[in-house]
């Protein structure tokens, strides 16, 4: 899988998925905020923004299939398995490292190995985003694309309203994740190293 100082963690299919997903999600966030703010300028009309959002949504849907099946058929899926043992303890340990340890010369508590691609904080946030937030945003997004399939009223609340709120709350969570994700990527062997790994597939230890 690699030499002592580097591991080939990101195969081609994963990098393709990551690229499409990143592009789609970025367009979705920008157009999503634009729609929420009801921007309707002569340069970029509301209808164009809505269409862009719909197209980017379909891109993310397709790329999710690549991610999902890729993780089913390759070894990559096992990196996302969560163990119940020491769940919170590990989470706090890693959080403490980012907030305190790394500034005080401590070594990372969960170093990357061939068997451990993600530290606990990374793993949990990836699982929440990729196996909860993104599926929910995709399902509610499809529902809003065909609003006639949504239940009219649930407990006296409009079904479309509820779906729209769920869609944008999850969308917001994903955008917050994106900010942290892009920033934390700079905590690597060197600040630029992980960004290079996205393109060439090699993770330097």
């Amino acid at each position: 899988m690699g030499t002592i100082d580097k591991i080939y963690f990101y195969p081609v299919w994963l990098r393709i998925w990551h690229g499409f997903n990143a592009l789609g999600i970025l367009i979705l966030i920008i157009t999503g905020i634009s729609m929420q703010s009801s921007i309707d300028s002569p340069v970029i009309g509301f209808n164009l923004v809505v269409n862009l959002h719909n197209i980017a949504g379909i891109i993310v849907l397709i790329s999710y299939f690549i991610f999902f099946t890729g993780n089913l058929v390759t070894e990559n899926g096992k990196f996302y398995l969560i163990k119940r043992k020491d769940f919170f303890k590990n989470l706090i340990k890693q959080g403490k490292y980012y907030a305190w340890g790394m500034f005080h010369g401590e070594k990372t508590p969960f170093p990357v190995t061939e068997k451990r691609k993600f530290n606990p904080l990374q793993k949990y946030s990836y699982v929440i985003v990729m196996y909860l937030a993104v599926p929910v945003v995709i399902i509610t997004g499809i529902a809003l694309l065909f609003p006639e399939i949504i239940i009219d009223q649930t407990w006296g609340i409009s079904g479309v309203f509820l779906t729209a709120i769920l869609h944008s709350v999850m969308g917001f969570l994903i955008s917050i994740f994106l900010f942290i994700h892009v920033y934390i990527a700079s905590v690597g062997k060197s600040p630029k190293d992980n960004y290079k790994a996205i393109l060439n597939g090699w993770h330097h230890l």
């Binding site: 999503g32 729609m35 929420q36 703010s37 009801s38 921007i39 309707d40 509301f46 209808n47 809505v50 980012y98 790394m102 500034f103 609003p147 006639e148 009219d152 009223q153 006296g156 609340i157 409009s158 479309v160 309203f161 729209a164 709120i165 869609h167 944008s168 709350v169 969308g171 917001f172 917050i176 900010f179 942290i180 920033y183 700079s186 905590v187």
Partner: protein, 313 residues
């Protein structure tokens, strides 16, 4: 002695019930007008031939007696508005030529109806496309059937019911070739085709009233009666699908008033069945999202500053 008391009681009861409903809308078979005007056919004794004749009733003159009994004018009898000579059949032909009272004859200038602002409604109506096309011939009853009208928008809690009732007023002509042509002089355009540009047409038609886009909003009236032609109708999505939605000043004028007084602001957010876009329609979620975003951003900036600072050391 006892039977006199019972008789008196029955007379009293009949007085009370006749005050709630006009005396015989309940018993249409014995009502002078409705025994014919609530049926598909009617019979009369032809005095010239001496035979009993059975004829079909003009469908436009058949009254929906259940709707009458639920309408705002249920306590009036037919001849309170129509000439009493109509009680005789065959009806005299001159009766047709007599003008009927207009709505403002009763509702105008009356303090008890002041809150409905009938006079202002009339002024607005005179700017509308309806008045421009058909002039004085276009009266209130073209949309608001005086026989069956119910003030649904003011009284119903269900937005869908309000929308349905209101849109049926428009559709009674705009989806009826004969009635439409009577006023406009030409065939009615197909509504589904001319609204082809509108996404999710069916949902829009079910959840908002035609007048939301085809009427100018006027703060002093619940519904401005200045119905505008399609050239001036709302066509921009963002006029409704925005935090400052036009619907707040039109359809949800009623809803908000009721919800604020009955259930408070938070539940009015939850029970809001309008759909603008995203969380920004809920001010609490909007504020929360801004706070979370700023917190994350400042955490990232602080963390990176610490890293730069440490590296320099």
């Amino acid at each position: 002695m006892n039977y006199r008391l019972v008789l008196l009681f029955i007379m009293f009861l009949s007085c009370v019930t006749s005050q709630t409903y006009s005396q015989s809308y309940k018993d249409t078979q014995h009502h002078t007008c409705l025994k014919c005007h609530s049926n598909q056919s009617y019979s009369f004794n032809n005095q010239v031939t001496g035979k009993v004749v059975k004829r079909l009733m003009n469908p436009y003159y058949i009254m929906d007696t259940i709707a009458i009994r639920n309408g705002v004018h249920k306590s009036f009898d037919c001849t309170d508005c129509h000439n009493t000579e109509y009680k005789v059949y065959p009806h005299k032909s001159e009766l047709k030529l007599q003008p009927l009272s207009s709505c403002l004859d009763c509702h105008g200038g009356d303090a008890s109806f002041a809150k409905y602002k009938f006079e202002e409604i009339e002024q607005e109506f005179k700017k509308s496309v309806h008045f421009k096309v058909y002039g004085e011939n276009f009266n209130c009853s073209k949309c608001h059937s005086q026989h069956t009208y119910v003030a649904t928008a003011r009284n119903s809690n269900n937005v869908l019911d309000i929308v349905d009732y209101n849109n049926k007023m428009c559709l009674s002509c705009h989806n009826d070739m004969k009635k439409y042509k009577l006023v406009s002089g030409h065939d009615n355009p197909k509504l589904v085709v001319i609204h082809d540009w509108l996404p999710n047409q069916e949902l829009h038609f079910r959840h908002v009233r035609c007048i939301e886009c085809h009427t100018e909003v006027r703060d002093s009236l619940m519904v401005s009666h200045n119905i505008m032609s399609k050239e001036h109708a709302v066509k921009k999505c963002t006029e409704c699908h925005s935090g400052n939605s036009k619907l707040k000043a039109s359809l949800y004028k009623y809803q908000n008033l009721q919800k604020r007084s009955e259930k408070g602001t938070i539940s009015s957010i939850l029970t809001n069945s309008s759909y603008t876009i995203g969380t920004h329609q809920s001010p609490i979620l909007k504020l929360l999202s801004i706070i979370i975003f700023l917190a994350v951003l400042s955490a990232i900036i602080t963390h990176s500053l610490f890293r730069i600072f440490k590296k320099k050391q």
